[in-house]
């Protein structure tokens, strides 16, 4: 029994010890768990604190992003708007290009543009977006009631907003209620000019944040509107000047055309007159020459020597007169278009050869060397061979006249600007500078000793000019006194 009790006590003691140990372990674990929970709570709190930092940073970033987005959108809108207004040079159209979409993209809803009418002494509306007609009138009335303040604002060239409005200007809230906008920006247009104005841009949204960036953006817009306006005004000015100039040029052209017509008429009359006089002269001239010739034969009786000498003079002068009449007739025919050039392709050398044959006797007699620098088949020209033959006869004949013995005449050719240029040069006495312009005129003769000695009609070069022009060519002269003269003319290629 005792033993049993001892065993029971021992077992109970052991159980107590075990339970105590267990309890101690549990208590230790509970403490540990409590510690862990505390640490976990602390971690959570730390995490929450970190979350706060993250949230605040994120919010700041969002705000910056929003501001950046707004600026980029504004810049895009400004770029579009600038492009749009720069595409027109009509003053009224500049303001019509301002659309509600542009204003919306700039972050606003309404816009007004006022300009100062110096003559009338009041502001007037150039453009209005987002305002009813009666609202526009009310704003206009208020503006003109405070025109000095608005004018001084424009003169100061200051961009103001509902945030930066100075105290001495009109009360911010008054402006808010008149312009029906919670937030707004006001910027002058062409502040240094007499016809200046300003742009107002605003929003009714109460949560709008107007920044310096917005003010800068609207200032740029106002400047660009001003520039576009200046360009349009300058263009209009230039346009008007150009129109005036064009009108004047038109008037002068008309006058000149009329004068030219008159000259043409007079020239025709002259040609007709010369032609008819020449015709009229030719018939009696033929009779005179005929009768003189009959008298000279002596068939009508013996003529005394003195009378014969006179008759020979009549005969010679009649020939000279006939020559003049024929040349005059040729000139007038060419001028009036009565002579048609029968153009055919010719080898230039072949044409010159014929003239060389014709003049070889005279050249030999005068001891003048004719040098032809044009080789056969070098140049093909489209010409009336008979007429161009006359040109060569005249030019080489002239050269022979003014070139002293042992002198030289040369004929050369070259291609130039799709034409064939022919140069006839001599080593003669030359033509004075002042005579060059008149040398192709009818009856003009250079005043020199040779011309006084040698007879001439003064019609040769005039005829040459007409023939060359009838071939769509040009003729001109270069000369150095005492050294020689070169006549150049162009002919179409064959």
């Amino acid at each position: 029994m005792f033993e049993a009790n001892i065993i029971t006590i021992l077992i109970a003691t052991l159980i107590i010890i075990y339970l105590t140990a267990m309890l101690l372990t549990k208590m230790q674990k509970a403490k540990q768990l409590e510690q862990e929970a505390e640490e976990l709570k602390k971690s959570l709190d730390n995490m929450d604190e970190q979350a706060k930092i993250i949230v605040r940073t994120d919010m700041e970033l969002n705000r910056i992003q929003e501001e950046l987005d707004k600026k980029i959108s504004g810049l895009y809108a400004l770029q579009k708007l600038s492009h749009s207004i720069s595409m027109t040079l009509v003053e009224d159209q500049i303001f019509q290009r301002l659309s509600p979409e542009h204003i919306d993209e700039l972050g606003f809803e309404k816009s007004l543009i006022f300009f100062w009418n110096k003559k009338g002494g009041e502001f007037y509306t150039k453009a209005a977006l987002g305002y009813a007609e009666e609202e526009k009138e009310l704003i206009s009335a208020h503006l003109n009631g405070n025109k000095e303040k608005f004018l001084s604002l424009i003169e100061a060239d200051e961009t103001l907003s509902s945030i930066t409005m100075p105290e001495n200007f009109i009360d911010k809230n008054t402006l808010r209620s008149i312009f029906k906008a919670s937030y707004f920006i006001l910027s002058p247009i062409l502040p240094k000019q007499s016809e200046c104005g300003f742009i107002f841009i605003g929003t009714e949204k109460t949560d709008t944040l107007i920044t310096e960036g917005d003010e800068e953006l609207i200032k740029i817009l106002a400047t660009q509107l001003g520039q576009a306006l200046e360009n349009a005004r300058l263009f209009e000015k230039t346009w008007n000047s150009q129109r005036e100039l064009e009108e004047k040029v038109g008037e002068r052209t008309q006058e000149l055309t009329a004068a030219l017509e008159e000259v043409k008429k007079m020239n025709k009359r002259k040609t007709d007159f010369v032609s008819s006089v020449s015709h009229e002269l030719r018939t009696p001239l033929t009779s005179i020459k005929g009768y003189a010739a009959i008298l000279l034969t002596g068939k009508l009786g013996e003529i005394p020597t003195e009378a014969k000498q006179r008759l020979e003079k009549i005969n010679r002068h009649s020939d000279e007169l006939g020559h003049i009449v024929n040349e005059l007739l040729d000139i007038s025919r060419i001028e009036s278009g009565k002579v048609t050039m029968s153009l055919e392709p010719w080898d230039l050398r072949e044409v010159i050869n014929k003239i060389e044959d014709l003049l070889s006797g005279q050249l030999k007699e005068k001891k003048i060397d004719l040098e032809i620098l044009v080789q056969p088949k070098d140049f093909k020209v489209l010409i009336d061979q008979t007429q161009i033959g006359r040109v060569f006869i005249n030019l080489i004949g002239n050269a022979m006249k003014f070139t002293p013995a042992n002198g030289k005449i040369s004929v050369s050719g070259k291609k130039k600007d799709g034409m064939i240029q022919v140069d006839v040069s001599d080593t003669g006495c030359g033509i004075p500078q002042e005579a060059k312009d008149s040398i192709f005129e009818e009856f003009f003769r250079v005043e020199n000793s040779i011309n006084q000695e040698v007879k001439g009609t003064g019609l040769g070069l005039a005829l040459v000019k007409r023939i060359i022009e009838a071939h769509q060519g040009k003729i001109w002269v270069d000369s150095v006194m005492g050294k020689g003269t070169t006549f150049s003319f162009t002919l179409p290629q064959g």
Binding site: I54, V55, M59, N62, D104
Partner: protein, 407 residues
């Protein structure tokens, strides 16, 4: 010809020619109301080969919310049912648009049925009963027909709009698939432009559709519990004035918190931990009460575990891809013929100038040629587990809900 399919009814053994489903979307940004409506209608109509549409959806931006728009469209539509909404920004294939209107015209095969209705003059007191009425009216005539999906549009100004969903769920069933939006402007129903109203469509028959909804916001900081709340207002969180949560996180006093609400609300919603669901249900802050209470766009149940949520552009975009992928996977390998998107305005604010990358991501999933119609919304209604038929539709904030239709 692939334009029609022969269908043999196994019961009646009769052969029907089933016309394929055709959906066309037209868009216009013309500032002239009539021209805009005509241009958009003509584009949509030509996309369905000028067939007479069975149903029309009209989404327009607030600037083009005008009776003339509706009248012009109604003149072209005749008595075809029309539902629609206004939003600050709408979504079409070319991207998001702040000024424009889009029309989707639907021509359904005979084996797809639908019913449309609307409830008007909804107030705080009758939101739930209005929802029940909406459900009842949509179910009318649909007995014995397999019901598939409901699309609803709510005027976002209705207080406690979530109750409309609860009311409707009482009638159509809690797990009945639903996709919808609360918008910033009025809703359209046939000839009417309605405020304080809700309208909806209930589809039945063999409609092949897929739904995806995601938000991409992640929990931040330690979990908290709503200790006192009623409806959409939380009075206390962790036994402290609810506003102190935001005050602590943003180191702001009550007045500066109110001032900065516009910058806080879209980016930092609260996430409600829904038991058994992976995703948190988001609630964005709508106002701060004088007593320090917080009002949200949607109910915040008392006792719910909540976390402050944060997101980034990358997370937001990834969630869009996931939502699109979920919707696509439910189409049973059929190519989508139409995509309807309800995208939270908060997401648009988060993405800023890059908001169109979401639409590009959706087009990458479905193909660029699939017509898209969508709107930016105040709240979205869709099942939390989108692909699960038993998923219960919730009233979401900051989410993108994508509905894809095939057939």
């Amino acid at each position: 010809m692939n334009l029609v399919n022969n269908f043999v009814d196994p019961q009646s053994k009769k052969c029907y020619i089933i016309k394929p489903m055709q959906i066309g979307v037209g868009f216009s940004s013309n500032n002239d109301h009539i021209k805009a409506a005509q241009e958009a209608f003509n584009e949509a109509s030509s996309a369905i080969n000028r067939r007479r549409p069975d149903l029309a959806l009209l989404f327009n931006t607030l600037k083009l919310s005008h009776p003339l728009v509706l009248k012009t469209i109604r003149d072209s539509l005749g008595d075809t049912p029309l539902l629609g909404l206004s939003s600050p920004s709408i979504i079409v294939n070319r991207g998001s648009c702040k000024n424009g209107l889009a029309i989707a015209l639907f021509s359904f095969p005979e084996d797809i049925y639908f019913n449309t209705t609307c409830v008007k003059e909804i107030s705080l007191n009758n939101a739930s009963s209005s929802g029940e009425k909406l459900g009842d009216d949509l179910l009318y005539g649909c007995k014995g027909i397999r019901r598939n999906l409901s699309i609803i549009f709510l005027d976002g100004q209705i207080p406690e709009g979530e109750n409309i969903i609860f009311g409707m769920q009482k009638k159509v069933g809690r797990s009945f698939p639903m996709v919808g939006a609360s918008t910033l402007g009025p809703v359209y129903f046939n000839n009417s432009i309605l405020n304080n109203a809700a309208c909806g469509i209930l589809f039945g028959g063999k409609l092949n559709f897929g739904l995806g909804v995601k938000h991409g916001w992640q929990p931040l900081g330690k979990p908290r519990r709503v200790t006192l709340s009623s409806g959409n207002t939380a009075q206390e969180i962790d036994n402290k004035a609810a506003a102190s949560l935001y005050q602590e996180y943003f180191a702001k006093d009550s007045s500066s918190l109110k001032k900065d609400l516009k910058h806080i609300s879209p980016f930092y919603p609260l996430g409600i931990d829904i038991s058994g669901k992976k995703e948190y249900l988001l609630r964005s802050l709508s106002s701060i009460g004088e007593s320090g209470s917080l009002a949200f766009n949607g109910d915040i149940p008392q006792g719910s575990r909540i976390r402050l949520m944060i997101s980034s552009k990358e997370y937001c975009l990834e969630s869009t891809r996931q939502a699109a992928q979920l919707a696509k996977e439910s189409l049973k390998n059929q190519k989508a013929k139409f995509i309807l998107i309800f995208n939270s305005l908060a997401r648009s604010m988060l993405l800023g100038r890059q908001e169109n990358i979401e639409i590009s991501a959706i087009k990458e999933v479905f193909g660029a040629d699939v017509p898209i119609l969508g709107a930016y919304t105040l709240a979205e209604e869709a099942p939390l587990n989108s692909t699960d038929y038993l998923g219960i539709p919730y009233y979401h904030n900051n989410s993108i809900a994508i509905l894809a239709m095939a057939g």
